[in-house]
Symmetry: D3
Subunit: 239 residues, 6 copies
């Protein structure tokens, strides 16, 4: 099996995390997994949704979008269609759930952090890149809250990162790009914490069912890849 | 650990599959997993979506809904809200993907089968009950297509069934009901074929991350449970 | 004139009212007029719409829906279309108005009762079956309010029932089923109280205008039919 | 009983029908029932809805709207709310059904006539004024179709007119204005043909149920009033 | 160059302003620029949008609509389409901005004036006719507020009027009607105050770019035309 | 008068145009006017809107969006609101009209070019930056059409650029940034061709009306600024 990109089965694409990418958001990161590029911002607002009012607890929620020509063929803009599609809603629910696992929401006070992940160029793995970049933006937003006195101390964060793995031409491979993704037998997205626990495991057989052995092999690849992502996040945050 | 229902950790709820539940649809099944009750219909229409026209291939798509008072608290009707929520879209995409794995779409000719899963009473596990019941309705719809000559022979079907498992109070349990589901640390939905392959594995850490060992334990429970479901499907179809 | 079902002109279909049909709602009734089957629930919530706040008065409102394959041809789901059609809105307005005539709203306190009528199988007369079943669900909901102390005593209820009549092949007939309804010259829905007064009279000439004499004949048929429905309601509530 | 307007129980308001009220539509009528003023246009377009294509038959459909300040309190514009309310849909369905009874649709060829009824000032009875005025606009549109050769001859038209009657302070009254309408015990809208047949009879008990005797009395008042409307239509069309 | 209407290049159409056109609104004006006819109402409501609450300041906002058959071809009703088009939103934003320039909003107290401009017949220049008529309706609404004590004195109003000019067949012309508008090289809408200042200048090259000299010539024509409109407004308000 | 940025009254911000910014679109430009950053793509698709089918002529249309946190305060995403706001529609109509003036649409054949302008960081002047950047993307798209044979030769393009000017603290200034824009007395957007003609002139008095003299002064500033933009476009296209 030869990957379209010539990468080894366990080789990730070049990952870069550029902090302070735009100037208005409390956290703003451009994340790149090869040619996949996503702007992740974290915006802080006072107040929480109705179901949390009076609890002293905060909230983290996420939205996801793609520019119409982030993809090979132009897609109709969801704002002009008048609704977000099922894929968009599914992805932004995944991002929100994943990031809520990163922080103790009680430590936020009654504040909401809005995560926005906007894909400006897509080449496979946009949801996992989004989660990985958004976690860095979230840390920056927490630091900014501390700085302007909205919270007394930066809450401890369990870093969260995510990667896709799959069965491509019968073999498990790490970090699928678009040509692999569209031809894979199975596609598995994995979200983990830096303590090694799983937050989300979402595997879908596209062409053929997968076996428990294949699942195990994919999860091992994913774990190794996510550890590289944690290193990249730490390096970015240390700058 | 004692389950709220008093069931053993690997014990499923009573499962019943009632065929020909309503009279108009080509396939119509009431599926019950304990107090969870879903009407699953399979409706056949000539024609396929635009992207398949002229290919000679068919299509299977799914929609999911809940009656407003299927739940403990009344939920606003999606038709009057003017849109389907993210959870609904996520579930109906899952049902559709799962059932498309059951049949070779080429054997359908240019026909579309609409699967409708409508929850009339919810007590946890509605999406897995839906998939399990819909697969039986699908078989009935295929038989009806054969009978009225829309297809020459009933295509061979890979049966599909689904169950939820989870970590409840630290232990893996099979077939979560609502009290367990709302208190579980982890919730995992598994869709399998009767050949033993995975079609979907969707695990979400609700309270605490889960370990590879817990994942393995849950998948084993799920596999055993799904085998019981295959038996129930076969028995129903043999009537 | 021979009716498609072989019934006499003044003969109703088999009517059944099954209370406690689902477990969550305060009132839950499956009503069947022959092959027409509707789940009617009555859900109690504290609070009233804005225009009643502070008046001490309650409110009753209704919503109506059909499962996509309740009918001979599958209809598109209103939730996925993004709006309720004119027929749906017309029917649920009729149900709400009718049931508000059953109870003195002042006796409810500032509580709202939501009536949901969901057709799981349609064979003509869904709106009249809905009203007839919902009135029983409403009584159960009032009893449940009394039981949990939301109101001091069950308010006296003026029972409400409804039936359709029509001119079929030149003759007045009672309780039209779908084959009659789609071929009738005139269709008339009548809602009455158990004191014998009219709540709604809605007659529509489908093919030919109707005369005052035909109207009188139809109203007499309807009155007789509705009296049978009151008997069925009383019997159900006596169980 | 003294009516707020001082009219006798069987006295209608001043009715005027002004043809050619606006210049673009094939038929355009300003109808006034006292202070209720509605612009009714009939617009002809080639083609019919999908379900009629190839049948050689035409179609008539109606839409109804109110200017935001047609009423005593400003109502939110339906175009900015993003949907038409239940009352609007109910009324425009009634207008469309009524006018389809006026003409043999086969005589139209595959053309559609759009009826638009826009209330510029409301004082009760807008739906009945709309039907009455729209029937005149329809005749003008048919004549214009003949003139430009879209049809060979003007089809014979069964004139349609409508009036509201009610029980006000215990007595039947004809042609309710807004102060009566909002205080009436019962409100009944009647649509008839110039041959004396009923097209629609829609009675609603607002405060107290009504008796068969009251219904008969109201229908007699309505019949007399509608005859005055037929005379007004004929006079207008003779100009 | 000969204008389709035979008018001189600097000649406006007949302008009429009919006050008290409908009876419910605090201000109600029918404005006619030749065959263009718009009903402009000004409705007063207590309260202001959220961003002004507690400031003691009022607000003026505008909505614009066209009856479906105000135009040569019937347009689909925006209420049934489910949204207002871009042209509608653009025009109502322009009307609102223009009229907010007429009055010191602080003098209104926390009240909102809703301007509704509904075109009943269109023949070019609907937005400028709307602004011109709405300003008169606004004055009437302010007087009515004073009369019923909502404000202590009628605030001083800077009258606002608007006209369109254009380059038609190479020459600047005043007050374009529809045949000119649809064939013009350039279309320029000008809104001015009675002190001679510009509120809005919106010029669009339809066919060919326009020069600074053409812009100057058009603005001079517009200024002269608007002065005629101020005279018409004053005369109407003096009645 | 001292500008917040310290710029001279006739001094523009740093302008950069980065071609080939994303990889999928036929034309893709990042345009920066100081801190205002917009991604402009031009996407080519075969076919034209219905009103042009069979004419042999092409079409250019535009859409505009902002990332939710492009601004100082996060704005709700239009895709999740379910509609594009009035400001968005107004801007995208302006961009589309402006770019259609750049090319003879007949030279495109029956192809459509979609212009997408997505603001990733806003600091005033997003609509004028969008037009200026999109024109460069359009040229790249035309070249790509020629290269793959969709058109025989690259049509001649009349370059289009746009700038905002205003009256700030009583003086005319060029290229307003956000602090100036939000405090300006008047805001004027000007779109010109490289031949010196006006395509659009849109001036709005925000605080005080503006005089003909101020308009002239602003237009002169704008003309000078736009000439700098044409130079920047040419330099970018020469790379």
């Amino acid at each position: 099996m030869i990957r379209p990109s010539g990468r080894a089965a366990d080789q990730m694409r070049q990952v870069t995390l550029t902090r302070h990418y735009t100037k208005h958001a409390e956290g703003s990161v451009l994340v790149e997994f090869g040619d996949t590029k996503v702007i992740c911002t974290a915006s802080v607002e006072g107040g929480v949704p109705r179901f949390l009012r009076g609890t002293g607890q905060g909230w983290i929620t996420a939205e996801y979008g793609m520019l119409p020509r982030a993809t090979g063929e132009r897609m109709q803009r969801e704002a002009s269609k008048g609704k977000q599609g099922g894929r968009t809603l599914e992805i932004q629910r995944l991002i929100g759930r994943s990031l809520r696992a990163a922080v103790d929401l009680k430590a936020l006070g009654e504040n909401t952090i809005y995560i926005d992940c906007d894909v400006i160029q897509a080449d496979g793995g946009t949801r996992t890149a989004s989660i990985t970049g958004a976690c860095v933006a979230l840390v920056d937003a927490l630091r900014s809250m501390k700085q302007r006195g909205a919270i007394k101390k930066v809450p401890s964060v369990q870093m969260i990162a995510a990667i896709s793995v799959g069965i491509y031409q019968g073999s498990p491979v790490l970090d699928l790009d678009y040509p692999e993704d569209s031809a894979a037998d199975t596609d598995l997205n994995v979200v983990m914490t830096d303590k090694g626990g799983f937050i989300e495991v979402q595997g879908t057989a596209e062409a053929a069912p997968f076996t428990p052995q294949e699942l195990t092999a994919m999860l091992e690849l994913a774990t190794a890849g996510i550890n590289e992502l944690f290193a990249a996040q730490l390096a970015a945050l240390a700058d």
